[in-house]
Symmetry: C2
Subunit: 437 residues, 2 copies
């Protein structure tokens, strides 16, 4: 008998590796943070002596949130049902100017990470400021994160110009490049807030330090019109013209791509983060996801910030995407359940450049694994496990969440019981923010 | 001190009555199934001696599901991601022919009602066959229901022609018209499966027995083309021509209404059941909900059957509708949170002709009330309670469900503990159905 840390045992094991079907009564063996074996439970049970066996319904890879502004979770519900410019100019930007600080970001990210872990998200990619402060909460709670330090031409609370932002980002990258659970990254806000020179310099920094470059791209019709007006090209063409796009770039939103732009993104092998809830709620539009997937683009899912969503819940994004795009392309066989689940798992890992390590349950990969219940009224009977995960499960059905071989969530709560304190802190900040309006 | 059954006490009381704002630290007094008082907790606490005080986060009216085929819950996930005709002709209709029986419907409705109660749905309207068998489970579990006996021109397992269906419906109406928790109703399948004579005779039955007439209407582009071809009029015009539409009619879907048809429905004061998840997943299209609401149409929400959804979850329908229609009409201020919550509560009551009794928390109305948690990571901080319910809450956050003054759900489970047996029965049926494919 081989000594290991855990056997995770489920009625269904959904690996999301390319070559495998779901395993009935399946199990995963975990040791030192890694997946060491996969198979039928009775086989693994004979071979391994685990410190603990965790039983459940569906074992699947941890979900990956490829686009987030985690600290904005403290502005959840702060301003809704407004025109986009009113929302930004009258509410969100003033609130950010007033409240952002290292303390705010550390506390807010703690709540965001708790929410994501409870929803089965084991890796998230963030685009914001004060990422050093965010990293504290990431390390404290044990989630895996890609933290991108933001770059924008406008002055911010802590920067005067884009070069300050880039310098900050490079400093952050150097400080965090050896953290095992954090991949530092650099993020340009958008083509309408960053000039070509800022894109070129940020790209250089990302290449020099071998980190992911992220950017919002073609989120609104307004952005397309504005970039056309300024540069005579549509947003994707514009970035392509400056050789920004390649497989080490993650572009979020990509709502308003024309055929030519879809071809450019496909050829560049640039990943796309599809943020459907945010795009709907802000009335930005609906990205051409089935067409992008058909062209071979790696489309993953993102929640965007909770101020425009208002949750950090990839199962929910997946479920809405899988339904909505059928109606948009008028084909109820479009974006099938398994493909939607791929977007939430392995596509996310690829988009973040982490698919060697996470995104599927395979021997040698990190043990980022979640277990969902199948004993609730909305989850029976079961005919097809992919359909079940995509169209019937909700994040509240996730019982157990393991990241890097550590069990962080048990029965829907932090294994160390710290949830209550994080929620109280959030309510305390919420009252301060509400009272100051 | 006045003796009563319950005080329900919440951090927020959301009544959904026309004239009231949310009450902070609010309470509802309940006696003999009725709401006898509403106010601030400290006031009610001085005045009443309840048998029990139930505390929670958000107290709100029970949700209303205005369109369902409850028994189809046993086909949840049985066939997905297929073209509509393949789905119907190769899977759903053969499965129904094979399996439908009184026993199947009684058992399946039990699961559907359990799922709906857990999701905070206190009233649902159903359109199916074997409604006598459904009524058994409705009475057993204690939900409020509008049960419509189906009418279709085709032969079914138990009927040879439409007149058989109408006779069945009239018999069902007579048998159940005095049941306090069941409103019998008559439901025509659709203009493409029921000829004008069937509509006229069903309408007569609904008028003679003073029950709600229900019909699917204008669900797909195909239906519009077909009705135009057969009768030279679009579906709504067609029914209007035969004087079918009035305020005692509930039309489900209404996806493909043109301007003139919207005006007809508005003028007739016919209620509309918007089934967004089903319409998306079957690629039927997206109803013009903001325009219908602007024209004064009473639009409520429906889940449709779990075979095309795949849940029976009105909070989820509401949340998707509130986001999606913003993107469709390109206005992030469209379909505001409070209006979306109205669709899920008081509009539903009006659509079913039950607004004197349910749909809001008001003195004299039946105590159909739900309590939601606000202590989970995705539910803090709180700035606006309507935004919170619509954009952040999920059905798993509903702790307590009271119907007609009886507490049916406590801490997310049937108060009598019968969930386990219902779920086991569903899995047993599911295995039989799966094995027979």
């Amino acid at each position: 008998m081989i000594e290991i840390d855990y056997i995770l045992h489920g009625d269904y094991l959904v690996t999301m590796s390319d070559d495998s079907s779901p395993i009935i009564d399946g199990a995963v063996a975990v040791k030192n943070g890694k997946i060491v074996d996969i198979g039928i439970y009775t086989d693994l049970n004979k071979k391994y002596a685990p410190l603990e066996i965790i039983n459940g319904g569906i074992i699947m890879p941890g979900l990956i949130n490829t686009h987030c502004h985690a600290a904005m979770v403290y502005f959840r519900g702060y301003a809704d049902d407004l025109h986009l410019l009113d929302w930004l100019e009258k509410y969100i930007w003033p609130a950010e100017r007033k409240w952002l600080s290292n303390e705010f970001v550390t506390d807010a990210v703690e709540l965001a990470v708790l929410e994501m872990l409870c929803a089965g998200i084991t890796t998230y990619s963030d685009m914001y400021f004060y990422q050093g402060a965010a990293a504290k909460s990431v390390k404290k709670l044990g989630i895996r994160a890609v933290l991108a330090s933001g770059v924008i031409d406008f002055p911010t609370k802590t920067t005067k110009c884009a070069q300050d932002c880039i310098d900050n980002a490079v400093r952050f990258i150097k400080d965090f490049k050896d953290e095992p659970m954090i991949s530092p990254s650099i993020a340009l806000h958008s083509p309408y807030t960053c000039c070509p020179d800022t894109y070129i310099k940020s790209k250089e920094a990302s290449v020099n330090h071998n980190v992911l470059l992220q950017t919002h791209l073609s989120e609104t019709q307004w952005e397309v019109d504005e970039i056309l007006k300024r540069y005579g090209r549509r947003p994707v063409e514009h970035l392509d013209y400056y050789n920004i796009l390649d497989s080490n770039v993650l572009a979020s939103h990509c709502v308003w791509l024309d055929d030519k732009e879809i071809d450019i993104v496909a050829k560049a092998e640039t990943g796309v983060s599809h943020c459907i809830n945010s795009n709907l709620k802000l009335a930005s539009g609906i990205a051409r996801v089935p067409e992008m997937l058909n062209k071979g683009i790696n489309v993953a899912l993102g929640t965007d910030g909770a101020a425009s969503n208002n949750n950090l819940d990839i199962l929910n994004e997946m479920s809405i995407a899988a339904r909505l795009h059928k109606a948009i392309v008028k084909d109820s066989s479009a974006l099938k359940a398994k493909e939607a689940l791929r977007m939430a798992t392995i596509n996310g890992a690829r988009a973040l450049g982490l698919s060697e390590k996470i995104g599927s349950i395979e021997k040698g990969k990190s043990a980022d694994i979640i277990i969902g219940s199948i004993t609730k009224p909305h989850l029976v009977p079961i005919y097809d496990i992919y359909s079940h995960i995509v169209y019937s499960m909700s994040s509240a059905d996730i019982d157990t969440v393991m990241v890097d071989g550590k069990v962080l969530i048990r029965v829907g709560h932090l294994a160390n019981g710290a949830d209550v304190e994080i929620i109280e802190k959030a309510n305390h900040w919420g009252r301060r923010i509400a009272e100051s309006v």
